[in-house]
Every structure is written in C-alpha cells, then in structure tokens.
C-alpha cells in the first residue's frame, strides 16, 4: 500500500478527533476547529473529511448518544484507529525532521 497521505485539513481534523478523545462527532469537531484555529469551517467540509478519513481507515465510528436538542437523532462518534495514529506520528516525525534540518540562522530570521 502507498505511503499514507494526509492533506492539511485532513491532518487538522484527525488531530482534532484525537484531541477530543471520546467526544468527537461532527458538531464538536467543527466547533473545536473553529475555536482553535479561529477560522470559520463549513460543517459540510468537516463531515466529508470525517467520512473520507473513515474510508481511508484512519477513523472508526459508532452511533450513540441521542439527545432532545438533536431531535432525538443519534450522533456518530469517531475514534482514531491504529492506522490513524501511525499516520499522525509519521506526519509529525516528517515535520520534526524538517524542522531539525532547518539551519539556526534561518530560524532566527523567521523570528523563532
């Protein structure tokens, strides 16, 4: 199988799911991203990304937790799978490698 490829937004969504731990579903993920990144994200974008990540095997889901304010409908809770964790780690390590390889003076110029 090809090397895992995560788009930037996919990575954000996947990380958010991991952050939210047990309580990650469409609404919380959308709100969390909005609050953490400060950018307005469409629910539809988040929803399709969650679907896609599940298709790729990085997320698994189960239905539960119907509440009245949802009109009695259940939520789809997402959790990160082993493959998802691995993919996140990989992305992280690639980033770190790149950061490590960055010459110190460049880092200074960037104001770091």
């Amino acid at each position: 199988m090809k090397r895992a490829f995560l788009g930037e937004f996919e990575e954000v969504v996947l990380l958010t799911v991991a952050v939210l731990d047990e309580s990650a579903y469409g609404v919380t993920v959308t709100q969390e991203i909005e609050q953490k990144t400060g950018r307005a994200v469409g629910f539809s974008t988040v929803h399709t990304t969650l679907q896609r990540l599940e298709e790729k095997g990085y997320l698994s889901s189960k239905m539960s937790g119907a509440t009245a304010e949802r009109g009695g409908r259940r939520k789809r809770f997402f959790t990160v799978t082993a493959a998802g964790r691995k993919a996140l780690m990989e992305v992280k390590s690639i980033r770190e490698q790149l950061w490590d390889a960055l010459p110190p003076q460049t880092l200074q110029l960037m104001g770091g």
């Binding site: 469409g26 609404v27 929803h47 399709t48 896609r52 949802r70 009109g71």
Partner: protein
C-alpha cells in the same frame, strides 16, 4: 438508521431551520449518514443562532445542506476496486475479442457472414419501405393538401374513384371558406410534341391549373413557379423532355413549340424531372384552363376526368368539410346525374390526404397498380424476420460454444471480475462483431443497390455521409449487437468459477431447448417465404398462360393520337391490307390490355321492365372480332352489308347477359342515342384487361371508319419484315409523325410488371433467408459433430456403420425442420390466400406446393448438416480416441 420524523426545533426561543433545506436533506441526503447529519446540523443551528445570529445561521444551514446533497457530495471512487474501464483492461478486452474471432475462423465467418447478409437485406428493405412511406411528404404544404375522392353507387353499379369532375374545384373554393385553394389535374398519355424538325411522343403529360406550383414543390431550372402559367398557351417541360426535344435545358423560355395537332404553345419553364416519390408522373405540364389544348369542358358535372386537390386552411378541417358534402351533392351533382330527389344515387365525397395517395389508393378504379400498404407491411416483416434469423445464428453459435470460454470466465471471476464487467465485455464483443458485419454489409450494399433499384424501379441511395443516415446505421449496428449479445453474455457471465475451473464442466447441453426452438423459428420463416415464392411464381405463370378469350399473339397496336391521324386511319388500314403479310386490321377507339375504357350507363329493356347497367363501351369496326379472334356466342357480328348497323345495332358480352339476368338477347332492347335498338349478337367473354380484374359487362358499337387505335394482326412467319412494311405505310400516310407501336401480348404482360417485381423481391429475399438459416444450421452441425467426436469414435469401434452415424447426427436437425414445416404451412396458407384475393382469376392453393417446399427445406437442411456429419462419421476412431 431511520430518518427522524420531526424536524421541528425543540428550543422554542429559536425558530426552526429552513424547512426546504431539511426536506431536501430527507430526500437527497446519503441514506447511510443522514441521521447523524440531520442531528449535527440541528445542533449546530442552535449554536450558530447563538453566535452569529439567526439570519446567518439559516444561511449557513442551507448552504451546508446543499453541499451535502448526494449529487454534489459524490464520493470518490473506492480506492480498493480497480478501474474496470482503464486503458489496460480495454486493450485486454479487445485483444481477447479479436483472438476469439481469429481462433475459430469458421464460426466467426459463419456468424459475421450471416449478420452481414441479414443486415444487408434489412437495410435494403428499410430503404424500400422508407421510400414508399415518404411519397409526397416533401411538399411544403403536404399535410394540408387533400384529393377529392368519390364513391358512387346506384342499383348494381358501384364506383370508387380518385377522379371527379372539372366544375367541382371552383365550386368547392367558392362555397367553403375552409378551402384555401384548389388544383385540377388531368392525366394524359402519348401526347405529340413538335419542336422544329423534331417530333416525338411524350409518354405522360398532365393538364393542370397554375396552382400546381403552389401545391407541389418542383425545382425550376428555367422560369419561376410564379410566372410559369400566366399565359394560357404555356407549357412547362421536364428536363428529360427538354433534352429530348432540344438537346439542352437553357435558353428555352419563350420558345414556341407545337403539341398535339399543331397547337402552338410557349415554353414558360423547365423543371427537374419529377422525383420518383411523387404520385404524379409526367414529362410536361399543359394548361388545364385552355379548352382547345386540354379538351376539358369546365362545366360538365357528370364527366369524371380530373383529379381535384384542395388546400385547406387547417389540416384538421377535413372531416368538417366531408360532413358538408351531402348537401353539396344535392345542390350541384344530383341534377346532372338525373337523380332529382338526390336519394337514388349514393354519392360520397371524401378528402384523401395527399401523402396517402401512393399507398392507400388500391381500392380506387384505375389506380390499383400504385403502392400498396399491404406490401409495405409484408416487406417490413420480411426485413425484420431475416434480421431475426441472422441474430438467432449469433445467439445459437455463441451459446453453443460457451464451453470454449468457460476457463477464461472462471479465471476472470477468480481474479475479481464482477458479473457486470463480464456482461459488459461480452456485449462489447457482440457489438464489435455487429460493426464488422455492418462494414461488410455496406460493401455488399454498394454492389447490390443498382440491381435492387432496377428491380423495384426506384432510385434509392445510401447517403452514408449524410449525418442522419450515418447515425441511424451506427444505432442499428449497436441495437443488433446488443440484441444478439445480450442472451449469450447473460449465460456466459453466469458460470460459477469453482465448477468451471475444476474441469468437470461441460457446457453446450445447457440452453439446448432454446437453441432448438430458435432453429425451428428460423426454418419456419424460411419455409413461409419459400411457399410464398412458389405461389407468387405460379400465379404469374398462370396469368401469362391463361386463355384470355382473344388471341393476343402477333397483334400490333398502333396509337392514332392526333385528329389528322385518326381521320386517315381508314386509309392506313386499307393500304396495310394490300400486303399478304398483314392478316387483318381493325380500327377501334377502345384500348385493349391496359387502361379502362369509357364507362357509361346504358338502359336495357325487356318485356315491361327496364334496367340500368354501367359498363365499359367503345366502338369497333367489322374486323375487330376476327383480328382478335374473339368468338361469337349467339346472333351475328356487325355486317358491312347492313348500313343500319352503325346506328341500329350493338354487341354485348356474356357477362352483360349474366348481369341483366337474361337467358338470351332476342327479346331485349338497349337505349342508344334516345333510340331503343336490338342487340345484334353476344360475344364470348374475353379479358379486356389484366387478370387482376373480373370480366365486366361490355357494350360494343359500330364505327367502321373511326378510331384512335389500329390493331394489326401480322403473319407469324416474318414479323420484322411485316413491321418494316407497316412503318413505311404509316409514314407515307402520316408524314411528319413518329411511328409508335406495341405488341398486344407485351401490353398484357406490362400489367403484371409490378407483380413480377414483387415476385423477384420475394425470390431474392427468401433465398437470403434460407441461406442465412443454413449458415446457422451448418454452424450448429459443426459444433455437435465436434462435441460428439468421442462418442462417434466409440460407436465406430463397436461396429457402427457410417450411414447409421450420419443418420444419428442428422436426425435431430431434421426433426426441427419437420416441426418448422408443420408450423409454417398454415401461416403460409393464410398469407398467400390473402395475397391471392387481389386477383380476380387465381390459382388454387394446392397441397403439393407445401409438400414441395417442405421437401426442399428438408433437402437443404440435410445437405447442410450431412457435410459435417459425414465428415465426422468418416473420421478414423483412432484419432478421436487417442488422447484418452
């Protein structure tokens, strides 16, 4: 995961989200996720209302729903399934398809040949039927043009006519606002044209009102439709006649030529030859309104000689107008027919759409030889059936040989091919075959079309580069490919890989019943067509050889079309008779063998009763009976010694006595020119027209010195010399007039031309049907022989004779052909019985025709099968059993 039923928002402070969006999501959301999406959105809506306000929240809600609708939020292809239409797979499909074609050359050739032949027949017949159906459709006003038809019935007389009287037209236009315009046309034949030194007869000429060019679209080479008929002495020539007269078509406007007996007319236009799919056929148009030329009395209501067309304002006013016709009859026509109350005669006037004239006029007098809807149906059916036979070949051979591909299918399935993909693959293969077949059939068509045109008197072309035809052909090939491939693809893709790959699989036995039924269908169709062909040919034979009651051999008909020639007819006759090569000559104004003669009502009297009979009548001289060798039944012929005969005697035929119900003529009288005169003699019935028509009552009167036809009986010994002599004498008596003649037997034969065409088509296409069916049978026989190689080997080892093995292999097929014969016979009997109803004089349908056709079918099938079965039976068993 049922979608919830109440989208209403539970929080009362906040209004519900847009209802339209919620409903839309219900309908079009992905059913797998719709529940949580609905819930999430509802939750978010509350959140949005709190954070950004209700207006924005509603907007966001709607936008999210729209983005999540399935057509927009379509999932990408699953990563795990391979793309079945990738170039690599397509290449593989094509490669396998070609390998299969090449691997079994015999079968591929058989199916392709069959398909190509079937397609060729179907395309030919399709062109033919299309042409027949499209007569007169190309005129701009076609759907608003109608022809006036008449149905007349009184006492025993009944007429259905496509013609009517001249004053009908103007009267219709004046009295009914529905009628926008009218056109009168009178057909005429053999008209003399004279341009300088050049003199010739034009075969068909019409007299027409100037509105002709408004009604029908002709293509002008010279002149315009508007100016063509402004002058009462104009003539419009067709290209053909212009070239025959002048050798060119340009610069003729204003040229004065002479028609008939030196009547000057001016060329006012030249048009292209009339398209073959126009119901009027002519070489020149002369002015209807000019009485001196047309000879039509415009006020005579009881002289039916012209076709009257009306252009209605709206096409649907036809029925409305017909309803007004009974009143019209009483007002105008009743008086002319001496039907004072308007009730004695049943007189229906109907309006026939111009597009129906070609195909739906067979019931009209004098138009029986046009197109015929029944033939359109028959030929469509034949085309479809031949195609069916070819498609059946494909299906039969493909399913029979399915075993050969079982392994391939097993492996494809084991690797992960879906059934749908296999279906697609096999359909693609059959479509490929059908396109290959189309290619071959186009080659065939280019060779066959000229022949076919000659046979049918049409000028059909296959305009391949005309977009529409191209697309139709491609569509045709696609449909044939799909139809022929669907069943085999279904069967092939059904194989279970485990069974197939284990090796214990023997296909071919499956679907045997279907294959057998299909063979029966093929042979039923072939057999029906074969019987049809035999019967058509026997009927033609019968018509050619039936005693007509007159001797039509060695009789010349010389038309005397212009008055000066008619006047000198008697001189011509006496001069001809001086030569011993001329056996006899007779002057008459009747036509024998072709068109109808004038019909009038005669009143007959016997005792105190009177009876009116409408009959054909014409004048003859004293020699008419002897020249045509017509026999007298009772009484006497006209006598040159009795001068009173020319006004005081008539001859009638036997059919007349029968119609009148008289035992003999003696007490009877007939009214002629307001005198009651006796009937001098009764002649034996003879056929005045073709055998399509019954022998009708006939009245002959005497005019020994007048006539527009001269019948000449020549000695059989040296006909060319006699002809040369007749020509010299004719030119001596009628200088400056072209000498034209026909042989009477040819005139009669001409009446069967359209029947012979049909016979030819029948023969050709039934040959094709049988040929294609045999291809299929041959393929199947080859296949069975191959399958049973081992069985035959064992039988031979055990002592079976060659004959018994051939019998074994042929028996199965012959059984099928036998069943086909049983099914086909009643169908053929019914069909051909219907066809024969068109003829007043016809052959009986005899049982031996069916037996003969059956024997031929069996013979052909046996020949086809035995080639393979004998080959199989002669094979050395060592060879077939060695591998075991």
């Amino acid at each position: 995961m049922e979608p919830a039923k109440t989208p209403d928002h539970p929080n009362r402070n906040i209004g519900p989200p847009p209802r339209w969006a919620t409903t839309l999501l219900d309908w079009l959301g992905d059913p797998n996720t719709v529940e949580e999406v609905q819930g999430d959105l509802l939750e978010l809506f509350t959140y949005w209302v709190e954070t950004v306000g209700e207006r924005k929240a509603r907007w966001r809600y709607g936008l999210s729903v729209l983005k999540l609708l399935r057509p927009l939020a379509k999932r990408k292809e699953r990563y795990s399934t391979p793309f079945s239409l990738s170039p690599a797979m397509l290449r593989n499909y094509l490669k396998i398809a070609f390998r299969n074609l090449v691997k079994s050359k015999v079968y591929s050739a058989l199916t392709l040949l069959g398909l190509a032949a079937g397609m060729t027949c179907a395309i030919l017949l399709g062109l033919y039927v299309h042409d027949e159906l499209n007569y007169d459709h190309y005129h701009k006003h076609a759907e608003r043009i109608f022809r006036v038809n008449q149905y007349i019935k009184w006492s025993d007389n009944e007429y259905k006519l496509g013609i009517t009287s001249a004053p009908m037209g103007p009267a219709l236009q004046q009295e009914y606002p529905e009628v926008n315009n009218i056109l009168r046309v009178k057909k005429s034949n053999e008209t003399l044209f004279r341009a300088g030194e050049k003199v010739l007869y034009a075969k068909n000429v019409i007299y027409a009102d100037s509105t002709l060019f408004t009604f029908f679209d002709y293509e002008f080479i010279q002149g315009t439709p508007q100016t063509a008929f402004l002058n009462r002495n104009s003539v419009v020539l067709t290209q053909k006649l212009a070239v025959n007269l002048f050798g060119r078509t340009d610069g003729l406007l204003g040229t004065v030529i002479q028609v008939k007996d030196h009547l000057p007319v001016m060329v006012a236009g030249v048009i292209r030859d009339v398209p073959t799919n126009h119901h009027l056929k002519f070489e020149a148009i002369l002015p209807y309104a000019n009485e001196a030329i047309s000879g039509i009395n415009p006020g005579k209501w009881d002289s039916f000689n012209s076709m009257v067309y009306v252009l209605l304002n709206r096409a649907d006013e036809q029925r409305k107008l017909e309803a007004k016709m009974p009143a019209f009859y009483k007002k105008h026509i009743a008086q002319a027919l001496k039907d004072d109350g308007g009730n004695k005669v049943k007189f229906d006037i109907t309006f026939q759409p111009v597009t129906d004239i070609h195909l739906r006029s067979t019931h009209l007098m004098g138009e029986e030889n046009g197109g015929n809807m029944a033939y359109v149906y028959t030929f469509s059916a034949i085309g479809l059936f031949i195609l069916l036979i070819a498609v059946v070949n494909y299906i039969n051979l493909a399913t029979a040989r399915s075993a050969g591909r079982a392994k391939e299918i097993g492996i494809r399935k084991a690797i992960g091919s879906l059934r749908l993909q296999l279906l697609g693959q096999f359909l693609a293969e059959s479509i490929l075959s059908s396109f290959l077949a189309l290619f071959f059939s186009l080659l065939l068509l280019y060779m066959l079309l000229p022949l076919f045109n000659q046979l049918t008197d049409k000028s059909l072309t296959l305009a391949l580069w005309n977009g529409q035809t191209g697309f139709q052909l491609i569509g045709f090939a696609l449909v044939i490919g799909l139809v022929s491939g669907l069943y085999p693809a279904f069967i092939l893709s059904r194989f279970k890989p485990a069974v197939v790959l284990k090796g214990s699989f023997t296909a071919g036995g499956k679907g045997a019943l279907l294959r057998q039924s299909l063979v029966v269908v093929q042979f039923t169709i072939s057999m029906v067509m074969m019987v049809g062909t035999i019967i058509v040919y026997r009927q033609l034979q019968f018509m050619r050889h039936t005693q007509l009651g007159l001797n039509q051999e060695q009789v010349l008909t010389i038309p005397l079309k212009v008055p000066s020639a008619q006047k000198s007819g008697i001189v011509l006759k006496s001069k001809l008779l001086q030569n011993p090569m001329i056996k006899g000559a007779s002057l008459t104004n009747g036509t024998v063998g072709s068109e109808m003669n004038n019909k009038s009502a005669f009143t007959f009297y016997v005792g105190g009763t009177e009876q009116s009979v409408s009959t054909e009548h014409f004048s003859i001289d004293h020699d008419f009976l002897s020249v045509l060798q017509i026999k007298l039944k009772e009484g006497r012929n006209f006598s040159p010694d009795l001068a009173s005969d020319s006004t005081g005697a008539v001859l009638v035929n036997e059919a007349m006595l029968k119609r009148l119900g008289w035992k003999n003529r003696t007490a009877g009288l007939v009214e002629l020119g307001s005198r009651k005169i006796p009937i001098a003699g009764v002649i034996r019935d003879f056929h005045l027209h073709s055998l399509h028509n019954k022998i009708e009552p006939l009245v002959l009167v005497l005019h020994p010195d007048r006539g527009d036809n001269l019948l000449v009986r020549v000695m059989p010994r040296n006909i060319p010399a006699a002809l040369a002599y007749v020509k010299t004498v004719y030119e001596e008596v009628n200088p400056n007039q072209p000498f034209e003649y026909t042989f009477l037997d040819q005139t009669f034969a001409e009446q069967y031309r359209s029947d012979e065409q049909k016979g030819g088509l029948f023969l050709g296409f039934s040959g094709m049907a049988i040929f294609i069916a045999c291809l299929g049978l041959f393929g199947l026989a080859t296949f069975t022989a191959e399958q049973r190689t081992k069985e035959i080997g064992v039988r031979k080892v055990l002592g079976a004779s060659v004959a018994s093995i051939v019998a074994l292999l042929s028996k199965d097929f012959l059984k099928l052909v036998g069943i086909a014969i049983l099914i086909a016979s009643p169908i053929a009997w019914y069909g051909m019985n219907r066809w024969l109803q068109d003829f007043a004089y016809k052959i009986d349908l005899e049982w031996w025709v069916f037996a003969l056709a059956g024997l031929v079918a069996i013979g052909i099938a046996l020949l086809t099968v035995s080639f393979q079965s004998i080959k199989a039976a002669l094979m050395n068993p060592v060879k077939s059993l060695r591998s075991e």
